[in-house]
């Protein structure tokens, strides 16, 4: 399926990324919003609060909780009574939610949460990287990463549709780079109410807390049952692989916009060098690719949109004929000296016939700027790998040796 995008200039407005998200949430007709302010997520919840104050979100309650822990906990209750439930957070707030994240996924509550990705303390740092959401990798949340504010806006509606599907019933994090996307003003088409009402059906879960048909939620499972509940969660994650693709295609059919399903590709068809990355860095990489293509460098981009579920097959299909794969990670698994996307990508290639060298770069930690020259330097490393093999498998980028 091809996804030709037409620029819909007459419907475009210039707004802040956070406003675009808040507007998208409103358009999805949430019933309960529960959030705690934290930089750089604040503008999202402020805009939602203003919508509430102006009576623009009907049949909705906004809970001004006392912590992120309670923000998500309140949504456990609201989602369990059948209310469409939304939150937004980042960094320390997301880390504070850790225990609740597992709980939400295990209880199969399709809550949607925007994560305005930010580095984690210590040292405390409010700027962007992906350490916060990556560290929640195993909690059972679908994780989608957006490239620009149009994508994070559109992704919000897609996430509700994916998560609330009865074959899925797993929560989703829609991830946008803090400040870089949350605070940037760009032209976009705000999520359209009329199309969204058609695209996203009302939330009607199979089982809810209801005195007319009383049920118990959150029972404990002993060793006789626990494994099977975990298996069901994994199966739902696997089901979501196709659902994420289907929903992206359906979205394209109805709205005319497409930013990829599980992944997206740019100039990969004949590429010897393929760069893999997630989030707003995608734009920079595309600019570098355009420049290098003019110099006949055969280089392409594999944008990973879904980190969980991990699109192993789609990734393999794209990189199988490349001569070198370069993975950029805005996170580090300390003690492994590597980023998560790099580790996962290598792991899916093992036990296959694909024999392509993979190198990893940990980049943009704590909001460190990523200029095009840095990407170009990485590409020249990759060219060296093509010529003479891997010398350094995974490394920090733009490390200031003089500070160490």
């Amino acid at each position: 399926m091809t996804h030709e995008m037409k620029t819909d200039k007459k419907n475009m407005v210039v707004v802040e990324g956070s406003y675009a998200v808040a507007h998208a949430v409103k358009t999805c007709r949430p019933n309960v919003i529960s959030a705690y302010p934290i930089t750089p997520q604040t503008h999202i919840v402020e805009d939602l609060s203003k919508f509430m104050a102006d009576g623009e979100i009907p049949n909705c309650e906004y809970i001004n909780v006392e912590s992120e822990f309670s923000a998500l906990s309140a949504l456990v209750g609201s989602s369990a009574v059948g209310a469409r439930s939304y939150s937004a957070t980042t960094s320390q707030g997301l880390e504070l939610m850790h225990e609740v994240l597992f709980n939400v996924a295990g209880m199969r509550l399709p809550i949607i949460m925007t994560v305005a990705n930010r580095a984690v303390s210590a040292p405390i740092n409010i700027w962007n990287d992906h350490q916060d959401s990556i560290s929640q990798r195993d909690t059972g949340w679908i994780q989608l990463y957006a490239e620009n504010i149009q994508e994070i806006s559109d992704m919000t509606a897609q996430a509700f549709k994916i998560s609330e599907d009865r074959d899925i019933m797993m929560p989703s994090m829609t991830c946008m780079d803090g400040f870089i996307l949350s605070h940037v003003y760009e032209p976009l088409v705000l999520l359209e109410q009329d199309i969204t009402d058609e695209f996203l059906p009302p939330f009607r879960p199979e089982r809810i807390l209801d005195p007319k048909n009383p049920m118990t939620f959150g029972a404990f499972a002993d060793p006789h049952f626990y494994t099977e509940f975990r298996y069901q969660q994994e199966r739902a994650m696997q089901n979501s692989l196709k659902k994420i693709e289907d929903v992206a295609n359906e979205f394209y059919d109805m709205y005319g916009r497409y930013f990829g399903g599980l992944i997206d590709e740019y100039q990969t068809e004949d590429a010897d060098i393929i760069i893999m990355a997630m989030g707003s860095i995608i734009g920079t990489i595309k600019d570098v690719i355009d420049r290098l293509r003019e110099k006949n460098v055969k280089i392409g981009l594999l944008k990973v949109r879904a980190f969980r579920p991990f699109p192993a097959q789609d990734i393999m299909n794209v990189i199988k004929d490349a001569k070198v794969v370069v993975v950029l990670d805005k996170n580090i698994s300390l003690g492994m000296n590597a980023g998560a996307l790099f580790i996962e990508t290598k792991s899916v290639l093992y036990n296959t016939d694909i024999d392509v060298p993979v190198i990893g770069y940990m980049i943009g930690q704590g909001g460190r700027d990523i200029p095009m020259s840095t990407i170009e330097k990485i590409v020249s490393d990759a060219e060296e790998v093509m010529r003479s093999g891997i010398k350094i498998e995974s490394q920090f980028t733009d490390l200031k040796e003089e500070l160490i």
Binding site: V76, A219, F225
Partner: protein, 292 residues
């Protein structure tokens, strides 16, 4: 004939379980049109081993420290969906209420959700094996505040939880006891009918954790009230509107303490009498303060 209880038999509570009684009385006061949230603890574990549940009403458990937040979300969700009349109740132990869940509880009460919180206070972490909590009384031996050669057990008095809730401006705060089921049922009914966040603190002796015969749950609870160690009162809109008088039935704390293994050391250790006197002073203070 229909059972008066909305807590089904077959639960795994100990014989003489205080939690089962408190839950049963709470549901008798609330009626069928309610949703109950319980934090992690004995009540949760003993009533809901998958695929069985003892709850005949809709019930949810999420985590240990978030029952009040979950209740907030249920209340908000029902409101948003236009579902009226269903009572939202959070019901958990003293540890979940007064220690780990205090922040969420404070948040929910400050925000003014229309919920009722019932604290089943058995004065220690029973589910994990009788460890000390903020509700453990002065002088009680628990597994993390054991009496020993240089210790008389827990060195601190109980946290005054009703006062903390009152400071939130709750329209209805009451204490009750398993020894007075009709009192508890009436108070729960009243609490759930009052708009806003209301609070019931139920004193609930635990046969296993406190060390007394399974038949004595009610008797021990009654003795706590009759000594003045556990005053029963109601506070409506900040004003004390009702206090249960002890009158001529007043008992010395010694009679209460000697019924329980957790205070046994006070009767065997040198200096125990002074410790008992300190506990008597706590009771006397209550008697004076509440006019028992």
């Amino acid at each position: 004939m229909k059972s008066i209880s909305l807590l089904a038999p077959g639960h795994r509570g100990c014989a003489g379980c205080c939690d089962a009684m408190a839950a049963k009385f709470t549901l008798m006061g609330a009626g069928e049109d309610c949703i109950v949230v319980s934090p992690t603890g004995c009540l949760e574990v003993m009533t809901t081993p998958y695929p069985e549940t003892s709850w005949d009403i809709p019930w949810i458990h999420s985590l240990f420290e978030n029952a009040s937040a979950v209740a907030s979300g249920i209340e908000a969700g029902l409101k948003a969906l236009g579902k009226q009349g269903t009572k939202v109740i959070a019901m958990g132990g003293d540890g979940a209420t007064m220690d780990i869940g205090l922040q969420a509880l404070s948040g929910a009460f400050e925000r003014g959700h229309n919920i009722t919180y019932v604290c089943i206070d058995n004065e220690a972490y029973m589910n994990t094996g009788v460890q000390r909590s903020a509700a453990t009384p002065y002088g009680a031996s628990t597994t993390t505040s054991p009496a020993g050669k240089v210790s008389f057990g827990n060195p601190r008095p109980k946290k005054n939880m009703p006062a903390i809730i009152l400071a939130h401006g709750s329209p209805y705060v009451a204490t009750t006891s398993l020894a007075y089921p009709k009192d508890m049922i009436a108070k729960v009914k009243k609490a759930t009918e009052i708009e806003g966040p209301t609070y019931i603190h139920c004193h609930a002796p635990c046969t296993t954790g406190w060390g007394f015969d399974t038949s004595k749950t009610v008797e021990v609870a009654r003795m706590a009230v009759q000594t003045g160690l556990w005053p029963l009162f109601e506070v409506e809109d900040g004003k004390m509107t009702k206090v249960r008088k002890i009158g001529n039935n007043k008992k010395p704390v010694e009679e209460y303490l000697k019924m329980q293994r957790r205070f046994k050391h006070l009767f065997t250790m040198e200096g125990g009498a002074e410790e008992i006197a300190k506990i008597q002073a706590l009771a006397d203070k209550n008697i004076e303060e509440f006019g028992l």
